[in-house]
């Protein structure tokens, strides 16, 4: 799955994010209020879209959008 599609789906999922604004190098904590609620929304999103499970620790380690993408990609294999 391409990173552009990944980003597009994230933008659709999170209402606070305007479409076509996220890029892979964006730092998550600057773009999201990266709290437990958003963490859960993200977990739910990757579970339904990509059938992938992510732990809190893995999520915390992801600093950028690219990191998140790489994390999901690695689980899909």
């Amino acid at each position: 799955m391409e990173i552009n599609i990944f980003i597009k789906k994230i933008e659709e999922e999170f209402e606070d994010i305007q479409p076509n604004t996220l890029v892979p190098t964006d730092v998550l904590s600057e773009k999201f209020t990266w709290d437990s609620i958003n963490a859960l929304i993200f977990l739910a999103h990757v579970n339904v879209e990509y059938d992938v499970e992510i732990t809190a620790e893995e999520l915390i380690k992801s600093k950028t959008v690219q990191d998140l993408y790489d994390l999901v990609e690695s689980k899909e294999l």
Binding site: D35, S36, I37, A39, L40, I41, L43, A44, N47, V48, E53, I54, T55, A56
Partner: protein, 354 residues
């Protein structure tokens, strides 16, 4: 493997009762207005009912059961089984079921005992009461489930306080030789025991006047003591997303059914985000998945029967239905049941004057 059928039992009626006080999450000023809006949207709870101190789960279950018995015109002397499923019993001991047996004027020949389960409690409870009755000796039984959770949550805990509501329910079960069997799939994972826990007050961690009552900051917006319900949100979330769908699918498969054969799926009302994710995982149409979350919150072991009473009231009264009920959470414990109903007695929800 706990996939099994229980024959010869039928649900005759379901009722529910909530305490009179309503709490509106729009008033939850422990968090900012923006955070409040997001919280309400994500968990899906706008209002819920809060018991006053002094009201017990058994008080709520009593109102539900007493009224239901009257609606059904049941002879109380014929009720030989009362199962009380709750994690908020009246006393540490004795069991609460006996108190209810007496209050409901049930005979001394009645079997009465407690089962300590929460979110999975209704499904587990049906399997226990059903299995005991299936052999044919007991003709009438009552399954009473509910919890008073709000008195155990810390107001300053944004992960718990806005979520829970209080309720008690009663389900009347009767022996019926031509009843379609109930089909169960029940599971457990004790490794997740601390995903939802009240740490102190049991034998493992005795009450300690020096430490049990102290409020501690756990993280931003979460302050609680060791008598408060502590939820590890991500752990519970991952558990639910991992286990509910396979449990439901296995049950359907085992009995040669598909989701198309089910009229309604009534899930334990955990929170909107979690429940909607499960619904999407199972590819279920929204019309088949009712919610009582927005008006009643997460009512623990009462949530499944309460949702039937509030959201499926007219269909369960007037038609034949195939229902799949699924409870999951504290324990970690989870289970699903497929059952068929026909013209259930289902009075509107009762309000307990605290």
């Amino acid at each position: 493997m706990a996939i099994f059928q229980v024959p010869n039992i039928n649900i005759a009626g379901i009722s529910a009762c909530v305490p009179e006080d309503e709490y509106n999450n729009n008033d939850y000023d422990w968090v900012s207005e923006k955070e409040r809006e997001t919280l309400i949207k994500v968990i899906g709870v706008e209002k819920k009912h809060h018991a006053k101190k002094g009201t017990t789960t058994s008080d709520l279950c009593f109102v539900a059961a007493n009224n239901l018995i009257n609606e059904l015109n049941w002879d109380r002397s014929e009720i030989d089984l009362l199962l009380f499923v709750s994690q908020s019993r009246d006393f540490i001991l004795p069991a609460t079921a006996g108190l209810l047996q007496e209050k409901l004027s049930l005979p001394k020949t009645c079997i009465a005992f407690d089962v300590s389960l929460g979110c999975s409690g209704y499904v587990y409870g049906l399997s226990v009461i059903g299995s005991m009755m299936a052999t044919g000796i007991i003709k009438k039984g009552l399954l009473l489930t509910g919890d008073i959770s709000t008195l155990n949550t810390s107001f300053k805990d944004k992960s718990a306080f806005p979520l829970f509501g209080d309720a008690g329910t009663a389900t009347a079960i009767e022996l019926k030789s031509d009843a379609k069997p109930m089909m169960f799939n029940l599971q457990t994972d004790g490794a997740g025991y601390d995903a939802i826990i009240i740490p102190d007050g049991g034998i493992r961690n005795f009450v300690d006047v020096d430490t049990s009552f102290d409020y501690k900051q756990i993280s931003e917006g979460i302050v609680r003591n060791k008598f408060n319900i502590a939820i590890d949100g991500i752990k519970v979330f991952n558990f639910s997303l991992r286990e509910v769908k396979p449990n439901v699918n296995k049950l359907l498969q085992e009995y040669g059914l598909s989701t198309d054969d089910i009229d309604y799926f009534v899930f334990h009302q955990a929170n909107k985000l979690m429940n909607e994710t499960i619904r999407k995982q199972l590819k279920l149409k929204p019309e088949k998945v009712p919610y009582s979350l927005s008006e009643y919150g997460n009512t623990s072991s009462a949530s499944i029967p309460l949702t039937i009473v509030t959201e499926l009231n007219s269909v369960v009264k007037n038609s034949e239905l195939a229902l799949l009920l699924s409870g999951f959470g504290v324990g970690l414990s989870w289970g699903s049941v497929i059952l068929h109903t026909k013209n259930i007695v289902c009075p509107p929800i009762y309000i307990h004057k605290d």
